[in-house]
Amino acid sequence: MDIICKGIKAGYGKTEVLKGIDFTVRSGEKVFIGGANGSGKTTLLRVLAGIIPHEGEVLIGGKDVSSMKRKEVARLIALMPQTSDIYFPYTVYETVLLGTYASSGSMVFANRASGAEYAQKCMEDCGVAELKDRHLDELSGGQLQRVLLARTFAQGSPFLFLDEPGNNLDIKYRAELCDKLNTWSSGKTGEIDNTLVAVFHDLEQAKRCCTRAVMLKEGRVIFDGDITDAMKPGMLMKIYDFDVASYMA
């Protein structure tokens, strides 16, 4: 199953952020979406997940995302937003369990009990099982990030869209996150190969988790190919307008 974008334009109010994007995500791929601040990475993820209005077409398995029901999209794509405001203090378990909403009653979770079991597994995988009964407003930034990651996994979707998942995580958890993503990416959900599309600001993490890079600049794709080519000094200079290689040396 592929996700195909054709001529995507999108923005907020009168500001056009994406100015015509064409590319395809094939199932089983591990795609890094990179670019400087404001280049359109977050907007692109939201368009791919059918969350914000856009011009052009986003086809998921041949179906236009705009014509699909939200639940149907969420069963295929789990999007973890960059920022997550917490307004009411749900417990960690309640939060992760809500992730199973889209797939409840479907083939993924036939009933509530199997959803609860899966939520427990996701909490364990993301290292938050021991925080199960804690309230969200009692967690540190890193703990909250891991809880939201567990909730995203709990959707049980084959396409995982992560917007800066390493935010607030210390180096140990960043390394664990990469391992977790690599293990997950090598598996399948139902008949579909697991597919990762992620935005990272940490290029080292991007290299460890992804094999393909789609680099954006001012709302346009300026590179699409192997991630090792994207990380070459000349390309990074072109993308960030900054000598990244010297900075990282």
């Binding site: 939200r70 999209v73 405001d85 307004y87 009411f88 203090p89 309640e94």
Partner: protein
């Protein structure tokens, strides 16, 4: 919270609520024993009439005046709190309510128009004022939603709240203009605006009760969606909830609850903010508990406030809206600051 702990809290809440309801029926210038009260209720339910040894006047006071009034207060308190709990989740704002979207302003304008212009529709008889209040309240919310949709395709919370507030202010301005032009009616209008359960009978309960049941069932079926909406529109969309459709459906249900309540009793504030807040402190934020418990707590709180309103300065009656604010505001402040200190 363990299941056993939650069960105990629910049981205690139900007992407290029943206690307050019975208290609200029994207390007043005429007092009745529990045995006689249950005798009267039993007599009417079984159709046997007034039991022996109970004066017909007592039967009339308790069955036709006190009971429907207390039950009406309970239903209105419950309806407003249920609507408040739902709106707070939808707008991710613990201080939101249907009033934020202009229901009360719209209802007030409708009532003012009926009083001032002396409009009457024969088949509505005594229900003209509540009917106009309800229709105008609902119309204001629909106008707010339509305007919000036209301005912002995603119907974001900020747009909804801002449009609601702008419409509220506009409608309030129109009402002030009307009451200045027709100052003879201003006293009547002020009384309606402060809310009262005086002279509310079974016929009012018979309308409000099914509305509450239908809206409650509808919102309970949405409880998981409301939990997800509590995380904001973006996260809700990502998790498979159509934020726009959910918001519009729930706002209309909340407006129905608030509109019918306001229409029967006038504007009574505060309960819709305080009850859900207290309930979340006790039971946590999950809506499968927040919704029913808000109804129970809001209902009990309103029945208690109405009891105070009619007994504190008896035979004079204090507007119940003033009592809810006088009791509710310090209590709300205490709960809020106590929880902050604890944290």
């Amino acid at each position: 919270m363990t299941k056993k702990g939650t069960g105990l809290k629910i049981a205690l809440s139900a007992v407290l609520c029943l206690f307050i309801l019975i208290l609200a029926i029994r207390q007043g210038s005429v007092y009745i024993s529990l045995k006689d009260l249950f005798g009267i209720i039993g007599g009417h339910i079984t159709g046997k009439g007034t039991p022996d040894g109970i004066e017909p006047m007592m039967d009339s006071i308790f069955w036709t005046i006190r009971m429907p009034r207390a039950i009406m207060a309970f239903l209105v308190g419950g309806a407003l709190s249920l609507s408040g709990a739902c709106m707070q989740a939808l707008l991710q704002n613990p201080l939101a309510s249907s009033y934020t979207l202009g229901v009360s302003s719209g209802a007030s304008l409708g009532a003012a128009a009926v009083l001032i212009l002396e409009i009457s529709v024969p088949f509505l008889a005594g229900f003209m004022l509540p009917f106009a209040g309800f229709v105008f309240g609902l119309a204001t919310v629909i106008a707010a939603l339509l305007l919000a949709s036209a301005i912002d395709r995603s119907v974001s919370n900020t747009t909804v709240v801002l449009i609601g507030m702008v419409l509220s202010l506009f409608v309030n301005g129109m009402m002030n203009f009307l009451s200045t032009l027709y100052s003879d009616h201003s006293k009547q209008l002020i009384l309606w605006l402060m809310g009262s359960f005086s002279a509310r009978g079974w016929k009012h309960c018979a309308i409000l009760f099914p509305v509450c049941v239908v809206c409650f069932v509808f919102l309970m079926l949405m409880s998981r969606k409301l939990d997800i909406m509590s995380f904001g529109d973006l996260q809700a969309q990502a998790m498979g909830v159509d934020a726009k459709k959910t918001k519009i459906a729930a706002v209309l249900v909340c407006s129905l609850l608030t509109g019918v309540s306001v229409a029967f009793t006038g504007v009574i504030g505060f309960v819709d903010l305080a009850a859900p807040h207290v309930v979340r402190k006790i039971f946590g934020p999950a809506h499968k508990l927040v919704l029913p418990m808000s109804f129970i707590y809001g209902g009990a709180f309103m029945a208690l406030c109405d009891l105070i309103s009619r007994t504190l300065m008896s035979p004079r009656e204090i507007p119940v809206g003033a009592v809810t604010a006088l009791i509710g505001a310090p209590f709300f402040a205490y709960v809020f600051f106590a929880s902050r200190r604890k944290r």
